[in-house]
Amino acid sequence: MDVIFKSIFSTVFFYTILRVATPLIFVSMAALIVRKGGIMCIAFEGMMLFAALGGVIGSALTQNLFVGLLLGTIFGVTIAMIFAYFVLVLQSNNVLTGLALNILGSGGTVFLLFALTGEKGTSSSLRSLQVPHWNIPIIKDIPILGEIISGHNLFTYLAFLTVILVYILVYKTRLGLRIRSVGENPQAAESVGIKVIRTKVISLLIGGLIASFGGMYMSMGYLPFFTRDMMSGRGFIGIAAQNLGGGIPLNTMLSAMLFGSAEAVSNVFQSLRLPSEFVQMLPYIVTIVGLISIGGVKKESKSKIKRIKEIKESTHE
């Protein structure tokens, strides 16, 4: 027990939370934008897998990090656009399309990997590049705080920046207002001349872009290579975080971090040689409990409850 507490209340543990929450924050923001546009999309796993592989291939072939990032983004966004084409233009079922693209992500990346390297498991034979870590000047020297928030992968900082950018996009820009209106009442948006489909496609484009960063972080930061099915459900947890956060950027980020903490805890437990099946369940259990608890709480406003009490009292007299 003592060991557990020690490892949980250490700076390393909090550092880990930020580290493992990074991809979740990215996907949850992607899910948020897409959801605001009124689209139910579950294809984030597929987008992330392709982006992760694209980044590895691009950087390995050119030995240029920027080209790697570019190729990863193109891969991820392409999946998002395929989704857009099928669901928005051809009007196919969104769940089935999402499912198909996730399976494509799982099989297609392995296929590409095999074609390129002859391997089916990991890309470790490719000399791909990694996104650097950043020791924040001054902050890195503050005890505790410095150890927790400094020295992360640049992607981690980008994830938090994305939250702010998404907030601005959704609530402070013209496009954001249009995305929200299209998501909530497409007829109304159309009646004032907003192009509904185009706006939805744009929200998917942005979502695909953000999800791609989450994917590339996995293969160019979290791990130094691509492995098959390396997202292991993160795309879905991101969607769950978006739901738990009620579509509000800050709350969504906090939910993503909650799920991240669960994963960090499970990492700690793993090193303690507890049954690994149980430990690996943890993040998903937290997700389910989180979703049930928001679904279960019916929101009666406080002022209403108070008023009912008052009236009941006054009629008793």
Binding site: K172, L177, R178, E184, Q187, E300, S301, S303, I311
Partner: protein, 539 residues
């Protein structure tokens, strides 16, 4: 009557109009418009529709006649299959609403086109958002809203969320929204259907001001007195064709309704004196609080007996909707009691209540009355699909259901090609008829009818009102809520008036009530004593 019947002929109608008016005076002219929906339904058949600058032109016709369709074509939401549109003398091709708005044509739709979770200001500027570099300046939007609202003297709270606004204000936002875009022609598709008489008066004042400022207005309504009061000319559609066009002042209401329906319509209803029997519904000290803590229903007590129609008059938004929703169990957490045959409904499910032969027509057909994507058949059997009579062994009896639904479609004159079309393809009034058909055909013992004839044409309204009286004569208790005072007085046996969530008057004999009298109670100018009000409780 001869003078009316010749108006049916398009040629003559057009001749009357063109005798002393030059063609250039038409700001707008739609010629030979034909619109066929993708399911093959012909909604407009070579329609000619002309409007002069600065007039208020009424477009009238039965439910499903094609009025909304024609206006959607004009607004660029639907593309005509043939025909031409001339605007300010020039031939135009209106491919989408943006083109229409740019040209100066704006439309307020029959069902609101607002985003509920956004504020008034955000809705106002949607599509033409102020701000630089892609940013959206909310402050600027609020300012624009306030400016335009001042300019046209239509006060509105720019920062309120749409979902918190009463319908009258939503309507106002819709009108302001198109004024903001600087249009010259306003299309108003049944703008008064959801308004109270006071709000309607207010709207008419505003529309007349707009007319004086040179705006052209196309006005759709089923309420003939409104047409008489507001409009200069009218065009009648029937079954997708223009059947006449005339000057409003040349016609009486009776004549107009005949033009629309093709037969004489009785605007008054014949009925015998009610024979009330046992109490079916009794409401005791009922109160209800909304989510803002406001006491919307305030200590109501009344009862409705079998064989009588109790009307509830009142300006909309004075607790009527909440009251009927509570009785139908769509709303919970009431204080006080609602008794059905002497038994409290508090613990009963909606199905249990319906099993006791309660029918409910909600004022909000889009939320509670219909399943938008489901077919007409599915909507009709939604309250009875599980019953023995519609099931054979463990499966539904498709044949029986089909016959049942087709009979109802015929009886209630729902204009549609097939029972298997989604209900959303129906015109507004025909959707309402489907709801009424379902609720009236379940052999009800208590009918709660909230705005049963909203958006329904004169002919069909007459039918529904008569049906209410027939149900009463068969021994049903009827609770009729309506913002249409004429309807309340005509149909009800006795009337209660609601104001601010409370009952302020009980008028035992509806026959001797005048609209003015009701008006005084509705606006809270007068209130009866507690003794008088106690008489509405019959046990």
């Amino acid at each position: 009557m001869a003078s009316v019947s010749h108006l049916f002929h398009l040629e003559i109608g057009v001749r009357i109009m063109s005798e002393n008016i030059k063609v250039e005076e038409y700001i707008l002219s739609m010629e030979n418009i034909t619109k066929i929906y993708s399911n093959g339904f012909i909604a407009n058949k070579s329609v000619n529709f002309k409007v002069r600058k600065g007039e208020i032109h009424a477009l009238i016709g039965e439910n499903g006649a094609g009025k909304s369709t024609l206006m959607k074509v004009l607004f660029g939401q639907e593309q005509p299959d043939s025909g031409e549109i001339f605007y300010k003398g020039k031939k135009t091709n209106i491919t989408n609403p943006l083109v229409a708005l740019h040209m100066g044509i704006g439309m307020v739709h029959q069902h609101f086109m607002l985003v509920p979770s956004l504020t008034v200001a955000e809705n106002m500027v949607l599509g033409v958002e102020p701000g630089k570099y892609g940013m959206f300046s909310y402050k600027e939007a609020v300012k624009l809203t306030n400016d335009i609202s001042k300019k046209y003297n239509l006060p509105i709270d720019a920062e309120a969320k749409i979902m918190d606004l009463p319908v009258g204000f939503k309507q106002r936002v819709e009108i302001l929204k198109i004024l903001l875009r600087g249009v010259d022609v306003l299309i108003l598709d049944e703008p008064t259907a959801v308004l109270t008489p006071q709000e309607t008066d207010e709207l008419f004042k505003q529309l007349k001001v707009l007319k004086e400022k040179g705006y052209t207005i196309i006005f759709i309504s089923h309420k003939l007195h409104e047409i008489k009061k507001l409009c200069d000319n009218l065009t009648v559609l029937r079954n997708g064709r223009v059947t006449g066009t005339a000057k409003v002042s040349d016609l009486t209401e009776q004549e107009i309704s005949k033009m629309m329906v093709g037969r004489d319509v009785f605007l008054t209803i014949k009925k015998d004196v009610a024979q009330p029997k046992e109490t079916v519904l009794s409401v005791k000290n009922l109160s209800w609080v909304d989510k803002h803590g406001k006491r919307v229903v305030n200590n109501l007590s009344f009862s409705v007996r079998a064989g009588e129609i109790l009307g509830i008059a009142g300006v909309e938004g004075n607790g009527q909707r909440e009251l009927t929703n509570l009785i139908a169990r769509l709303e919970e957490n009431q204080i006080g009691e609602i008794l059905l045959y002497g038994k409290s409904i508090a613990k009963q499910s909606i199905r249990e209540i319906r099993e006791q032969k309660i029918s409910h027509i909600s004022e909000d057909r889009m939320t509670f009355g219909t399943v938008y994507e489901a077919t007409i058949e599915e909507n009709i059997i939604s309250d009875r699909f599980y019953k023995k009579e519609f099931n054979k062994n463990y499966l539904m009896d498709a044949k029986k259901i089909k016959n049942h639904v087709n009979e109802l479609i015929k009886e209630y004159n729902v204009r549609t090609d097939s029972k298997d079309l989604p209900i959303r393809t129906l015109s507004g009034g025909n959707m309402q008829k489907v709801v009424v058909a379902r609720e009236f055909s379940s052999d009800p013992k208590l009918v709660i009818a909230n705005q049963p004839t909203r958006g329904i044409d004169v002919g069909a309204s007459e039918f529904i009102r008569k049906k209410l009286v027939t149900l009463r004569d068969q021994g049903a208790a009827v609770l009729l809520v309506s913002a249409d005072l004429n309807e309340v007085i005509e149909v009800s046996d006795s009337i209660v008036v609601m104001c601010d969530g409370s009952i302020v008057a009980y008028l035992k004999d509806a026959k001797r009530v005048t609209e003015e009298q009701l008006g005084e109670y509705m606006l809270g100018i007068k209130k009866q004593s507690d003794e008088e009000l106690r008489e509405v409780v019959h046990d």
